[in-house]
Amino acid sequence: MGVQGGRPPAMNIVVLVKQVPDTATERKLNPADNTLDRASSDGVINELDEYAIEEALLLKEKHGGEVTILSAGPDQATDSIRKALSMGADKAIHLNDEALHGSDSLQTAYALAQALRTTEFDVVVLGSESTDARTGVVGAALAEYLGLPQLTLANKVDIDGGTIRIQRQTDDGYDVVEAQLPAVVSVVEKINEPRYPSFKLIMAAKKKPVTKLDAAGAEIDPAKVGLANATTETVDFAAAPPRAAGTVVKDEGTGGVQIADFLASKKFV
């Protein structure tokens, strides 16, 4: 924890925010390099990141301190950064470098880990996955790179002094997990209900500081990031064969029997 003595402890919280294509619009891959075609759909803040921001704001309200947004992405990512600031975060760091284009999730975790080394923090909070890549590995890889406790898939977070305790969502319930700060926390959407930015906060967000950071500034080894050095490679992609048009019937009293007949034709009953 940052401060000792007479003053209450204050916490430095960093929230990782990613801009992703809107799931409501059509998403495409770019045939030239098999990376996400960011021009083909609107960018929005990754939905789960809003829960991460909310949790950070709740922690700040409880323990004092500061919430910093860290986002790696191209120029357009500023939209998501502003949105995050308008929810109430204090400032932001925008890691933006052409060298990062096409980085896969492990490379992104490495780059974020390097960027995090440029700032002081007690907790890093992120969404447990993004709606575009959906790999769900960034939080774990980040903890690995930073050598910090991995408190991922949290649906509840409590901090008491230097100790952090979460409920980690599991397949059949949850685990209570404990660690000492600093730590990496990823959240699932059950954790809270993200707030809507107020008009006042939206206006205030325009004046909040956004620090630009490039790969060199974060001491990112250019040989470890970017499409050319990606750890994985998409060999090809194609539209999934469309599902054959199904049968649609209106229930006129025998809907259940008709489904049973269909299931029987498929040998399910």
Partner: protein, 314 residues
């Protein structure tokens, strides 16, 4: 032939179906070697052998006392010592994390939510809610691949299942996040959601926390029960049964959606189901677009009739 490490999933000592699928996949690539953590390997060995495990590496239960990192240390160590060709895990939320950390340690790469793998380690994915299929591979080092349950059928082939104890000297960093308590929610007698051949899910259309209309149909088919987020958020059904982007991804032979509109986030978790049946009173609901058989009607009429009909035909 090089070894292919398969991290075993188990519930109370019982090998999960997905592990038998992974062993089947591993045989295409090399020699399957199962990795077992904790007690009970002796009893599980027969099952692992039945699906082709030539080796069974057994690591101490202590690894389960901390979050993810110890498993990654174990897998990275084994991959190095045994010069493994690949590491396969199931694509559960936790194992994807294990896969990611292992790949960082090995300086290799990770492929998650894979639905198929070829002998030369090209992995198939289904992305953007099942609308796009991609093929990918890891470019350097030992590929770490997380495969979705129910992606390929498990086929038996006898293996020797030679047991070997492995010790791991856990680093301090691996012990940084300690599990102090495990809380299991009521599981019941139904098959597990991600492994079930048939899933019957209920959504907001169920209308109340009385999910019996869904459960009765599920039980008539020997199916697992799932729920949409709307149903979970309303407190009608427990969280661990949520299907979708932020819930579980299921890929059963048959998925029946009762009173679920088919929002993109729900579809992301079920669109790779082989056959989809929907009951929804709204003819415009997007779920009809991806269904093989849809009934436009009231689920409270249709589902009980279906349940009765199935029970009759048994």
């Amino acid at each position: 032939m090089a070894e292919v490490l398969v991290l075993v999933d188990q519930v109370d000592g019982e090998v999960k179906k997905v592990t038998t699928e992974l062993l089947t996949l591993a045989r295409r690539i090399g020699e399957p070697a199962a990795v077992w953590i904790g007690e009970g390997a002796d009893d599980a060995k027969a099952k692992l052998a039945e699906f082709g495990a030539e080796k069974v590496y057994v690591a101490p239960a202590e690894l389960n006392d901390y979050v993810v990192a110890p498993k990654a240390e174990l897998l990275a160590k084994l991959a190095g010592e045994k010069s493994a060709a690949a590491i396969l895990v199931s694509a559960t939320a936790e194992n994807k994390e294990v896969a990611g950390r292992t790949a960082v340690k090995l300086g290799s790469g990770v492929l998650t939510d894979v639905v198929d793998v070829t002998a030369d380690l090209v992995a198939e994915h289904s992305i953007f809610g099942g609308t796009t299929i991609t093929h990918a591979k890891v470019r350097a080092g030992v590929p770490v691949i997380a495969v979705r349950p129910n992606s390929i059928p498990a086929e038996p082939a006898q293996g020797a299942a030679v047991e070997e104890q492995v010790s791991v000297e856990l680093s301090d960093a691996a012990k940084a996040a300690k599990v102090v308590e495990r809380v299991k929610q009521e599981k019941g007698a139904r098959p597990e959601l991600t492994e079930a051949a048939i899933v019957v899910s209920g959504g907001r259309g169920v209308g109340s926390d009385d999910f019996s209309v869904v459960e009765n149909l599920a039980d008539s088919l020997g199916a697992a029960v799932g729920a949409s987020r709307a149903a979970v958020d309303s407190g009608w059904y427990p969280n661990q049964f949520q299907v979708g982007q932020t819930g579980k991804t299921v890929s059963p032979q048959l998925y029946i959606a009762l009173g679920i509109s088919g929002a993109i986030q729900h579809r992301a978790g079920m669109q790779t189901s082989k056959t989809i049946v929907a009951v929804n009173k709204d003819p415009e609901a997007p779920i009809h677009e991806i269904s093989d058989f849809s009934v436009i009607g009231d689920l409270h009429q249709v589902a009980p009739q279906l349940t009765e009909e199935i029970n009759k035909r048994k």
